[in-house]
């Protein structure tokens, strides 16, 4: 048994034994946990990945005359001002109002770290105490009073890997997912990641001193959505002391901006139990691969997978080898662990035990919603359908008589085989080449299911640039039709 005070004394007198989590795996394997605990005092861990739940509290100081900022933008990226007059919180995923996904809160933070000036623009309603109504100025990191990074959810212990069963490319916060299970992406660095090396959260808790973005920071609690073994941390640090090398703005195409945040956590090896915990291997760290092709909260789990399999670069899905991309940087994570080791060895970084522990059990609940509106509650049912053999003239008559623009085409069993629109009919008449609906119908039809939420039907129409979806049941029979007009009444913005 060793205490953190004893370890800190060893740091002070230069006799501390520090190894990185990568080195510790070998040591535990070779010596066993008992002996390893005697040999090693501290294991340093590291992670460097996109952490969307990150941001900075600024205090800009007061202007003359003073302003109570109602809204404020830094390089056209809006920060939250619902606090005191010149305090604001800039989140890394907030997008620039002029540059969109190319530039966001993360980019502002990186620019500030690189010593650049950013434009501050604010508006206000004006009060007796804060008469000013607008201000535009340039500020650098040196000019603000505080730039305190507070990240509500960082350092995910493990994360669900992603793939895509659908027929189109998906742009997600898990990167670009190719169609038909074309690839798998995963986040986190498994056995090198802080929380995996202290899975009972004995030494990582409120008040634990950590490496954050190149500076000393602290754990201030469990992160939002903390749900072991998918544990998360809330952390704070001083942006002014950080280094842009460990804080990198990023864009995931089609999703938005974020920030790669570098976090390193030292684990004191208090006893053999801690040594055993830090000996954890990727083979023992499990997660799941989920299908982003299903745009619902509860995405289907395709299979369990270990970080060792993910790290190998290829995993099997439905009997096929699928290539894997990591989204976190193992090189940078290793560098952070090594850097933290150096800081401790040179007496620049001391360990702290948590003032309070974070929960080792917690569940992450879903949003309480009024109700989920589904397609069957808004669709027109039954839909007017035709068989492929009817003539263009008959089809056009049906469209006009019913005041509709879409005709699903069904076989004798009522199963969907195609669709024609009023535009298809008009074109067929103009070209004078086709006789029947079967000659001109679109055979690859985008459809909706009766229990699809209406938001999903709306997104399908948006993405495919169409204005109606036949609603089919599991047998492929047409049971209705839903149009963009049906939805726009409900999805008014």
């Amino acid at each position: 048994m060793k205490s953190v005070d004893e370890i800190n004394e060893k740091i002070r007198n230069g006799s501390v034994s520090v190894v990185t989590a990568i080195e510790m795996k070998e040591i535990v394997e070779e010596l066993g946990p008992e002996k390893a605990a005697k040999e090693v005092d501290v294991v340093t861990t590291g992670t460097f990945g996109a952490m969307c739940s990150s941001g900075v509290f600024f205090n800009f100081g007061h202007s003359d005359p003073p302003i109570k900022m109602q809204r404020v933008w830094l390089n056209d990226v809006e920060a939250y001002t619902g606090v005191a007059a010149v305090d604001a919180y800039l989140g890394v995923t907030q997008l620039s109002e002029t540059l969109g996904m190319e530039y966001g809160g993360g980019h502002v933070i990186e620019d500030l770290l690189r010593g650049k000036e950013v434009e501050l623009r604010a508006i206000a309603y004006g009060t007796d105490c804060y008469p000013r109504k607008e201000i535009v100025t340039e500020i650098s990191l040196d000019d603000v009073n505080q730039a305190t990074m507070i990240n509500p959810r960082n350092a995910y212990q493990r994360y669900r890997a992603a793939t895509n069963s659908s027929e189109r490319i998906l742009r997600t916060y898990m990167g670009t997912l190719l169609p038909n299970f074309g690839n798998v992406t995963y986040a986190g660095v498994g056995e090198l990641s802080p929380l995996n090396n202290d899975p009972e959260y004995r030494t990582i808790g409120i008040g634990t001193r950590i490496f954050l973005g190149g500076a000393v920071g602290y754990v201030i609690g469990e992160g939002t959505q903390h749900s072991p073994p998918f544990g998360t941390l809330m952390v704070r640090g001083n942006l002014k002391e950080m280094n842009a090398e460990y804080m990198r703005a990023a864009t995931f195409p089609g999703y938005g901006t974020t920030m790669f945040v570098g976090i390193g956590i030292p684990i004191p090896i208090l006893d053999a139990e801690m040594a055993k915990a830090t000996g954890v291997r990727d083979e023992e760290i499990e997660t799941v691969i989920i299908d982003f092709g299903v745009p619902r909260r509860d995405r289907p789990v395709l299979r369990n997978v270990t970080y060792a399999e993910l790290r190998s670069g290829s995993v099997e899905i439905n009997g096929e080898d699928v290539r894997v991309s990591p989204l976190s940087s193992y090189r940078m994570s290793g560098k952070i662990a090594a850097e933290l080791k150096k800081m401790i060895e040179s007496g620049k970084f001391f360990l702290s035990m948590p003032a309070e522990r974070i929960p080792a059990k917690e569940t992450f609940r879903s949003m309480k919603q009024r109700d989920i509106k589904v397609v069957k509650s808004v669709m027109t049912s039954p839909a007017i359908t035709v068989s492929p053999g009817i003539t263009i003239a008959d089809a056009s008559r049906l469209l006009i008589e019913n005041g509709i623009n879409h005709l699903p085409v069904v076989d004798s069993a009522g199963r969907l085989v195609g669709i024609v629109t009023s535009w298809d009919i008009a074109r067929a008449v103009a070209m004078k080449r086709a006789e029947t609906v079967g000659d001109i119908m679109t055979r690859k039809v985008i459809t909706a299911f009766p229990d699809d939420p209406i938001e999903i039907a709306a997104r399908k129409m948006d993405v495919n640039n169409i204005s109606a979806l036949p609603v089919v049941n599991s047998r492929g029979e047409v049971i209705g039709i839903v149009s963009s007009e049906d939805l726009s009444k409900l999805l008014a913005r």
Partner: protein, 127 residues
């Protein structure tokens, strides 16, 4: 080697690509194709040793030819995350023992998908 074939309005009507392939008995992999109002361009991959011969042949058919020497290039900004690895159709990217992303650029077919996927804009295509 990648070569860009630039067809003007007269050459664009003739089946030049297939003619050259048949006449020279050479395999060509079509990488990109664009047809414009007055001009068309096709990028094909040809075996390095046959390239000079095939290029001369294309030129004799009235097609302008530009050898594309540039391939994908990895810049300083790279974080070595590996987001590019699984999207590349020809496995240009892999990690080495030190967890750095290595680009075997000679395999590159100039599809550009990695460029848009890179979260820190570290990849570019040299012309």
């Amino acid at each position: 080697m990648m070569v860009e074939l630039i067809y003007d309005s007269s050459a664009v009507k003739k089946p030049v690509l297939v003619s050259v392939a048949l006449e020279e008995g050479v395999l060509m992999n079509i990488i990109e194709a664009e047809v414009g109002a007055r001009e068309g361009r096709i990028v094909v991959e040809i075996d390095d040793e046959l390239a000079d011969r095939v290029v001369t042949k294309f030129e004799s058919h009235g097609v302008r030819v530009r050898k594309l020497i540039g391939t994908i290039e990895k810049g300083e900004a790279c974080l070595d995350c590996g987001a590019c690895i699984s999207v590349c159709p020809v496995n240009v990217f892999r990690k080495d023992e030190s967890e750095r992303v290595i680009a075997e650029t000679e395999k590159c077919v100039r599809c550009r998908i990695c460029i848009e996927v890179c979260p820190v804009n570290a990849l570019s295509l040299q012309e």
